[in-house]
Point group: C2
Chain length 176, copies 2
Amino acid sequence: MDVRSICLGILTRGEATGYEIRKVFEGSGFQHFAEASFGSIYPALSRLTEEGLVSVREEAQKKRPDRKVYSITPAGRSAFLAGLMKTLPEDRHRSPFLFAMLFSDLLPGSRVRFLVDDYIAQGEQKLAQLERKQKETLLPGERFAIGLGHTMYTAMLEFLRMHRGEIEEQLPQAAE
Amino acid sequence: MDVRSICLGILTRGEATGYEIRKVFEGSGFQHFAEASFGSIYPALSRLTEEGLVSVREEAQKKRPDRKVYSITPAGRSAFLAGLMKTLPEDRHRSPFLFAMLFSDLLPGSRVRFLVDDYIAQGEQKLAQLERKQKETLLPGERFAIGLGHTMYTAMLEFLRMHRGEIEEQLPQAAE
DNA sequence: TCGATTTATATCGGGCCTATATAGGCTAGG
DNA sequence: CCTAGCCTATATAGGCCCGATATAAATCGA
């Protein structure tokens, strides 16, 4: 989803600063389907303000950068929901790990084993994070999204443990 | 993975045109972890040629645009493998569908049901495609990547069928 | 006490995608 | 038989987004 919609979506739940919007998707168990960087959030909020879809309240703090608290306007809420009524873009998944595994026959067996170990460890961390999140009070949609992530990471880890041997067993012609 | 590496990777398996590189990831069962558009492939191949990592052979066809067939050079092969030996970037997954589900409480129930139906249908198509691909002769790494995709899509579909009720049951305050 | 982390905004360069342009051949349906 | 749409094939421009960097002070931990 584009960063504009991400910002509007967060703001439907209450006012927030750019910094806070970023943190919602940072280490919070949502990264498996949406995220946005500062470099895109701040320009997006500026443009949304120009267009009247959000409003700003500047809290000039003593000796700190001005805290700009954004709120969604009625026009912004309409635009956000209108966006969700149009055809959604397709999912996009990028996995440098799986791409690398495509060429496991060209890599030293030790490298393949390391990459698999590392990927499993990362998956376990994300699973633990999702489980922590599941204990919090969540909206139905949030519970659903977290639950789906949990299911998929669990299935992924099981597959990795079951099938890693198929790419780690080096064929004779490949050098170790 | 960056487009440069994707191009080099394909070319380790044999020469190809930009058009053919694109097609490898188009409807071929690999889209769930890697893809690249023409708009990035052609510039990437030009730069790789300048850098000596690939070489071109121009086949001037009668009344057709020149077919530029690219081959990887020894330097290109080294650079590609060196890239796979460095720390890999993390996976990045974007799902406008799951993002929209986060706001299922703000949407009409009919819209939520439509989106879920559509997403399930798409998932079934991808699963069928992966199963067709599994019947082909594949390298171990390819079989592994396709198998993992199959496992995850299967788990995803099961979750969707089991839990869709949790977001489709509208709470009283939400309008239909 | 001093360094690291956190809060907080902003910009620049670069990478990648979408849409568009060009152009002729093939194929299926009317 | 014609023609519309798709396939092959390369290329560019505009725009979106990310990563890195800059700035600046407060707070927390060793």
